[in-house]
């Protein structure tokens, strides 16, 4: 993680504080080093930094130069100060698309298959990395309509921020266009985009 340096030496108060404030707002660096030449400036910068949630360490070179080292905590609540891209959080970007193309997993027994699907949807929220989108096609759309036993599980995933896209054509085919209970109507283009953009496509 890069460290930003703010050189406020020779600047009269409150410029060091203003420069530090700007640096905190404009960069996403975890560490900011502020150079000042008076104790008063060092104390003011330290106070500004603490009020913004930083940890502060002061170093005096003894030659009239003071270094104020600010360390920011990186956490989910810092997102208002930097881009929301997951890269800033130090994790690799991970788009997981779950493509549900049938209301039954596997072949052999339909009833078993449907029970497995329900179980799958209840489990997928607990496995990392979490899905970023759920895509429903063909008989899969039966899972997101009224009467489906999987509504709770899918609703929970939606509540966690997972995008739930449902093929409109398929809903129409099964006469379920008015029965959508969770997620939103989508189209081939959007659903295909999600699959292509994803780092990983999970096909139960």
């Amino acid at each position: 993680m890069a460290r930003t340096t703010v050189d406020a030496r020779g600047k009269t108060c409150p410029q060091p504080v203003i420069d530090t404030r700007r640096a905190l707002a404009e960069t996403s660096a975890a560490e900011i080093e502020v150079l000042v030449d008076t104790e008063a400036s060092a104390e003011n910068v330290a106070r500004m930094a603490r009020s913004q949630g930083c940890e502060v360490r002061l170093e005096d070179s003894g030659m009239g130069e003071l270094r104020v080292l600010l360390t920011r905590e990186i956490g989910p609540d810092e997102s208002d100060r930097r881009e929301t891209s997951p890269v800033a959080l130090g994790e690799p970007a991970s788009k997981v698309a779950v493509f549900v193309a049938a209301d039954s997993i596997g072949r052999g027994d339909d009833e078993l298959g449907q029970a497995l699907t329900k179980a799958f949807l209840g489990t997928i929220k607990d496995v990392e990395p979490r899905p970023t989108s759920l895509l429903f096609m063909n008989s899969g759309v039966k899972l997101v309509t009224e009467g489906s036993g999987a509504l709770d599980a899918i609703g929970e995933l939606e509540g966690m921020g997972v995008e739930v896209l449902v093929c409109g054509t398929c809903l129409d085919f099964f006469g379920l266009e008015d029965k959508l209970a969770v997620g939103r109507v989508s189209n081939m283009y959007e659903i295909t985009s999600r699959m292509v953009e994803a780092d990983r496509v999970v096909r139960p």
């Binding site: 009269t12 108060c13 409150p14 410029q15 504080v17 203003i18 404030r21 008076t38 104790e39 008063a40 104390e43 003011n44 910068v45 330290a46 106070r47 500004m48 930094a49 009020s51």
Partner: protein, 327 residues
């Protein structure tokens, strides 16, 4: 100049002995007082500084109000004034100087003070202020000495001009905060002084560059008494709280703190911004004075209806001796 540096510069100097000099440097009072006759004493003071606000007219008004304040703080009536100007004529338009002087004249007119002249020099840095003369009855001089245990301490105007002006310099202060502070700094202490002189006030000073703690210290040093301040009663400009939290503190605040903190005892739990406000250098601040407890409410009642506001902020105590306790 910081209080420490000034003290060191004056150390050991022989100030001479003048029987008619009723108030001189020794007590670090607001003005010098020289007895002319049994009924009349001359009051003299001088003050000037670099711009605190951007508008030259407002700066002129503030500088004049600030200079006049020291005369009021002695219980005296200002009569004449002389301008002191340092101006970078090669870099700055003379129109700016004209506006500053117009601001100064505006305040002098309000205070009924005659501008008797002045002195102007070319300088790399712009400064403005005035030397002021006033008159007072020799027996009715209000010095900063004489506070007695049991007296209540009152303060007029709000604290925090240093902090708000620093925020202004940093481009962070709100327009409302700036307007409030400018109005306060350009307000004369004349009305407050007229109320104060009508009551048996024991000691009085005005709060300026050394901050509340510094000027309070001048009132108790060598007097055998102490002050007790109620932190929650300190009146201040509300925006200063936020600005102080952001570290927008003037250099003068740290200097005042370094010099006066040894004389101040701050109780646990006093909020940081209130501690800052104790040491915040004030520009053209209010009057700090002590009044016998049984008259304090009357005085407050007369002042509270006026503008600027007044508040009881503490009392004079026996203990801690020659220190300021803040609780």
């Amino acid at each position: 100049m910081g209080p420490g540096d000034l003290a060191r510069a004056l150390e050991g100097l022989d100030l001479g002995r003048h029987p008619n000099l009723l108030v001189g440097l020794e007590t670090a009072d607001d003005a010098g007082v020289y007895k002319l006759t049994d009924e009349l004493a001359l009051v003299q003071t001088v003050d000037y500084f670099t711009p605190i606000v951007d508008d030259p007219f407002a700066f002129g008004q503030i500088a004049a109000a600030n200079s006049l304040s020291d005369v009021y703080a002695m219980g005296a009536n200002p009569i004449t004034a002389m301008n002191i100007v340092c101006f970078p004529a090669d870099k700055m338009d003379l129109g700016v100087l004209r506006e500053i002087l117009r601001g100064g004249l505006d305040k002098l007119r309000e205070a009924d003070v005659a501008l008797a002249g002045g002195h102007t020099v070319t300088d790399t840095e712009l400064k403005y202020g005035l030397a002021v003369n006033g008159l007072v009855h020799p027996d009715r001089v209000l010095t900063n000495q004489g506070a007695r245990p049991g007296d209540r301490l009152l303060l007029t105007k709000l604290l925090g001009t240093g902090i708000v002006n620093t925020a202004l310099k940093g481009g962070v202060a709100s327009d409302e905060a700036v307007a409030e502070v400018i109005a306060s700094m350009s307000a004369l202490n004349r009305d407050a002084a007229s109320v104060v002189t009508a009551h048996p006030v024991s000691a009085c000073t005005d709060v300026t560059g050394f901050g509340l703690a510094g000027h309070a210290h001048e009132m108790i040093a060598g007097q055998g008494v102490g002050f007790s301040f109620e932190a929650a009663a300190l009146p201040f400009f509300e925006p200063a709280r936020e600005y102080a939290g952001m570290g927008l503190l003037p250099g003068g605040l740290q200097r005042n703190r370094a010099h006066f903190a040894p004389h101040v005892e701050i109780a646990e739990g006093v909020a940081q911004h209130l501690i800052d406000l104790l040491f915040d250098p004030q520009t053209s601040g209010g009057l700090l004075f002590s009044v016998p407890a049984d008259r304090a409410d009357d005085v407050l009642a007369e002042l509270v209806d006026r503008d600027p506001p007044a508040a009881i902020i503490g009392e004079v105590v026996d203990d801690p001796r020659e220190r300021i306790a803040v609780r």
